[in-house]
Assembly symmetry: C2
Homo-oligomer: 703 residues x 2
């Protein structure tokens, strides 16, 4: 270790990220807001989105209050350190705040992007991307802030009160063990945001399409459709706020899990310093990367994509260089294997993104095959889309496996098992270190999408809509790669969390659970865990169906009852649709979320701590594969439809197009509700298992 305390870079990085996010936000807000009509529409979306989040946070607060009390009770009974309930709260608070800030700026940026697109494509890109970067940097900034504050506080507290350090732990173990638990707050918040937002957005989307496009025959984003504002609100609450909370959770989760495993590997404070400081380096790298995102006028989609990629690759390159020196100076030359683990994570993230692009972009064969199959009707579209999604799981799995294998062995796992686990965990940190910019490319999508809607509803000239369409189409690809990235990092993070769970059991009960697949408890847990993602997807897909049904009824009512609506003489009641979608999403998100929290506890009580280990691994494997499949099927269907709309197989309005629309509609809950929630499901279950570990040990029937 060097004489310089690198750890101070974590709070510095945090402040820097938040400061730069603030600067970017101000520059976005300074942009031209466009015509009054544009402002009006943006305001309607903003009001709807904020109303949704307000309601959502209210509902979630009740959950948080209840769990806080339960955790307090557990702490009182001695099952937990007293700081855990509070860490649970801050984790949840900052995760929610990340989503809120990201969404606020996104709803401000949509009309500004449309206005900028009136000037040029590059201006539009800059505004949309900047607002995405605000979100990306806010997430990493708040994450580092929360982690730093807790670290310094606990470090001071346990330093001042050594008696407070639990038995069979040293100071750093006590710190990481507490911080590990705070992930549960972030995960819970993220799950609610993803599931609730996902249900909202897809119910509104499906509802708007079913009545508007199919029954009334009016185009997408037509202002006469009462569900059109709700549809735009949904993009913000689901794809922006949900995504922000989700990745906040991945980001912090990977860092705290790595820290905890660092202690088990005997790396002490240095084991904590590396992931925290690497995250700080990632902040700087991301900020530098944003400056490389520039485009020329009338660029093709591949040029636009290249512009975004340039930013991401530059950031990755900086992290790759800087972390070499970081690891050399903190862990020492004998631990340089850890550096290669980081690189393997970085590379795996990039590769998964490329694979996702191959399977979901209309430039490649898989999506084109789906478009081809549209000629023989909706059934073949569905079959080929599912087949593409299933096929697309192979490479991501192999890449993640390779990353696990490499990280484990280069970090010295063959000689010291815990070092190997530390390597796996830090590869996830490596993958997520550039989150500031990868998330920016992802969050940019919904902004461009909303800008398109804004342009359509404001009757802007066709060339503007063409520009926003180019931006939006790119957004579909980045959204798909972003999801692949989220899933890949989640798999590695969850794995680290499972390893941390095992350590937690060891600390709390002095029992090293073997988790052998021949142990029937583990095996049963594995089976149940393998089934849960299916059950969860079933619940969330049905929820979308039910919520969409309610919206259909309301839209039909308005078409029928509001005189002059179809002629454009009267305005629809946008707010009532938003209210209905909000209420439905809030109601429907409860059961799937509870499933995640309750399953590990119930399994733990009835099948023991080994059963929980099996449960976590089972849901990790199935959840990972299912999440990739659902995200990619959904993305491929969406782009197959767009491919036909570009004029292939008869173009818009042809039978092939109608068949492709069916695929797109099926894909909606796949890619925006069920699929992306699975990451969080997996991690939340791991977090719950860790937090409730001592409780389960004390209360299980199967010791």
């Amino acid at each position: 270790m060097g004489s310089f305390d690198f750890l101070i870079l974590a709070p510095v990085g945090s402040i820097f990220a938040l400061g730069f996010a603030f600067y970017l936000a101000m520059s976005v807000l300074k942009q031209d807001q466009g015509t009054d009509r544009m402002k009006e529409i943006a305001a309607a979306v903003r009001v709807g989105a904020q109303a949704y989040l307000k309601r959502q946070y209210l509902g979630v607060s009740i959950f948080f209050a209840a769990v806080f009390c339960i955790l307090l009770a557990l702490a009182w009974k001695g099952y937990l350190v007293i700081f855990v309930p509070f860490a649970f709260l801050t984790g949840g608070f900052f995760s929610g705040l990340s989503g809120f800030i990201g969404m606020t700026i996104a709803t401000q940026a949509s009309n500004r992007t449309a206005a900028a697109a009136m000037k040029s494509l590059n201006s539009g890109l800059r505004v949309a991307f900047s607002s995405g970067a605000v979100m990306g940097l806010t997430v990493v900034g708040l994450g580092l802030l929360d982690l730093s504050v807790w670290y310094y506080f606990l470090n001071w507290y346990y330093g001042a009160h050594p008696a407070a350090i639990p038995a069979n732990m040293d100071k750093i173990a006590a710190i990481t063990s507490t911080m590990l638990c705070f992930g549960m707050g972030a995960s819970s918040q993220a799950l609610f945001a993803r599931v609730g937002g996902g249900i909202f957005t897809k119910a509104a989307d499906v509802g708007a399409d079913l009545v508007g496009k199919v029954e009334a025959g009016i185009p997408e984003d037509d202002p006469r459709n009462p569900a059109v504002i709700a549809d735009n609100v949904g993009d913000n609450v689901g794809d922006v706020a949900g995504m922000g909370a989700d990745l906040y959770e991945s980001y912090c989760g990977s860092i705290v899990a790595t820290s905890a495993l660092g202690v088990a590997a005997g790396l002490g404070v240095a084991g904590v310093t590396v992931p925290m400081v690497m995250a700080a380096i990632g902040v700087l790298a991301s900020v530098v990367g944003t400056f490389f995102v520039q485009s020329k006028e009338d660029a093709s989609q591949s040029v636009l994509l290249a512009a975004l990629r340039k930013g991401v690759f530059t950031s990755s390159f900086i992290v790759a260089i800087a972390s070499y020196f970081l690891i050399k100076h903190t862990l020492g030359a004998e631990h340089m294997g850890v550096y290669w683990a980081v690189i393997s994570g970085l590379v795996a993230g990039v590769l998964i993104g490329l694979i996702t692009e191959y399977y979901t972009s209309s430039g490649f064969k898989p999506t084109q095959t789906i478009a081809d199959s549209a000629v023989t009707g909706p059934a073949t579209v569905i079959i080929s889309g599912l087949a593409v999604g299933m096929m697309s799981t192979a490479w991501p799995v192999i890449i993640v496996c390779a990353s696990i294998m490499i990280s484990f062995f280069v970090s010295g796992g063959a000689a010291n098992f815990n070092s190997g686990l530390y390597g796996i965990a830090i590869s996830a940190v490596g993958m997520l270190s550039t989150l500031g910019i990868t998330l920016a490319t992802d969050a940019y999508g919904p902004v461009a999408d909303n800008a398109g809607g804004n342009a359509e509803m404001s009757h802007l000239p066709p060339e503007v809509r063409k520009r926003t369409d180019a931006l939006d189409s790119l957004g579909n690809t980045t959204a798909a790669t972003g999801k692949g990235f989220a899933i890949g990092s989640a798999a590695l993070t969850a794995l680290a969390l499972i390893a941390a769970y095992r350590d937690e059991i060891l600390i709390k009960s002095d029992k090293l659970i073997e988790m052998s697949l021949m142990n029937p408890q583990v095996l049963i847990g594995l089976f149940i865990g393998g089934m849960l993602p299916f059950l969860f997807c079933s619940m969330t897909m049905r929820a979308v169906g039910r919520a969409a049904g309610k919206i259909v009824v309301e839209v039909r009512r308005q078409f029928k009852e509001i005189v002059g609506l179809m002629e454009g003489k009267a305005k629809p009641d946008y707010a009532s649709v938003v209210t209905i979608a909000t209420a439905a999403a809030q109601k429907e998100m409860v059961l799937p979320a509870l499933l995640a929290v309750i399953a590990p506890i119930v399994v733990g009580i009835f099948i023991g701590v080994e059963g929980v280990g099996g449960l976590l691994c089972g849901s990790l494997v199935t959840g990972f594969v299912l999440a990739v499949m659902m995200a990619n099927s959904g993305g491929a269907w969406d782009n197959a439809k767009k491919f036909i709309e570009e004029g292939h197989h008869g173009g818009k309005g042809s039978p092939a197009h109608k068949a492709a629309v069916v695929g797109d509609t099926v894909g909606d809950p796949f890619k925006d509700t069920s699929g992306p929630s699975l990451n969080i499901l997996i991690k939340l279950m791991s977090m719950v298992s860790i937090v409730f570990a001592a409780f389960i040990i004390g209360n299980t029937f199967l010791k």
Copy 2:
């Protein structure tokens, strides 16, 4: 052990099963064949089916010859006992023979069932069910024959040549270790039968529907459709021959795995006697059960179902009673826990059947919800059907887990781990013991289906078609429960095989592999294994799509080129469609089948024997859940369509019906190609791992 050698009951039961099957076959063949038109149609189906199987067996022979040579080489190198290559051949031969005999009688029974249905519903039921029973009893009879012959031969051989017994084994271990390997032959044959037949049947079905129903607007089973004979052929080669080979494999696999685990549990010859004799008892019980299947005229579907159930329940009851005495006399009173393991298997089989019925029968809410969602179009039909299928995985998983847990602990797993594994294995034998009759209820379905097709094409009076429809509709339910049963038993059997694999590694390398989930090799295997069923389904679904495309082209050509076809003045060329479907199925089945054989060997070489353990568990978990989901989604879609055809939501020809047809078409490859092949995939991979265990140990990079 008693003084009487119970084991002799195994060959006796085998002869009895085959004798009774022969008697039933003769009685079916004696039935009235109906009009000349009926005979002609049945002959066309029969010829097509036999042509398919001939071609199939030719292709499979090449595979068997190649693998036989590889196994001979392995035996020569000392990796295998010399009998294994030959056991591989007999397993494959008898598995194929089971399918062939079952299919031959099924194709003879279809017109006879239609003719009998001209008299009464009960006559139709008796003929169709008897032909199903021929298949059921042939499968169990040949299975027991193969097992008995090998057992007695090896027992004599190792008795006469004790020097031939491999080191660190006693005689019984040498016998069971050899017999275990013969499952690979049966599994390979079964996989080809299921995949090839499944591709054939669904390609013909989808192809016939796409051009006939959708484009030409002629009804199902219309003789003017050139693909209609191929569609009927498909029911026989996929649902009968494929199913027979599949369950032959499950049946023998569960018995040999149990025998091998019995040796590990220290039960010696008695450990082999119990599963073999229990199977023999099951034969007797099944024969008795067949006499209880009777119906009154104009019975409702629930009455018909009750008639079939009475037969199954009677057989189960007999097994439950008789196996009590068997276990008491062979294993002794101290092992009565094993009896309860058997009962848990029997009960689990029945429960999974009931759950499957709930999720797939139009009498219950899940399928009705799908029918309801048809009102809002095909997209919602797909979403709700997938959601029902995913939801339906929960209970079967919990039931199988409960069965594992109970079997393990009642058999004394807590004190002696291997005894617990023996308990799990024997619960699968319990579940499968009544296969003679459960398979009869299953194989009856395609016969009734074909009888309906025969009645339609022969223009029989409407009341006959109504009766065959009643029989067919029941067949859909029994097919679904049969699939649930096949999947449930496969899960337990595969588990037993994985345990046997571990023993095999222990025997061959003196290394007890821990298979801990924290071992990265195991974990990577788990990930890859979890992904493989998705990849496999993707391959098989795409294969159906491609093969169906070829049939569409041919049917369109005939409609265009054959003058007077649509007016009924000219006949279509049925045979050319059969030839095309055959060629396509043969080509397409190769890759998915190779995946199953090669994956464990490649994983073993690169990731080691622990990796293979993880691979098997991963594919078991995902494969099980996915198989249940696909079978149940498919069944529910099919019945939702039928529910609408009965007059709900606008009935036949309504928009809701059109939407439901999309669901049904998507469900076709789900429930008849990809889903049911997954069982075999799982078991074949386990078998390959066992047979190649020694080779992998000697050649892996990761020792």
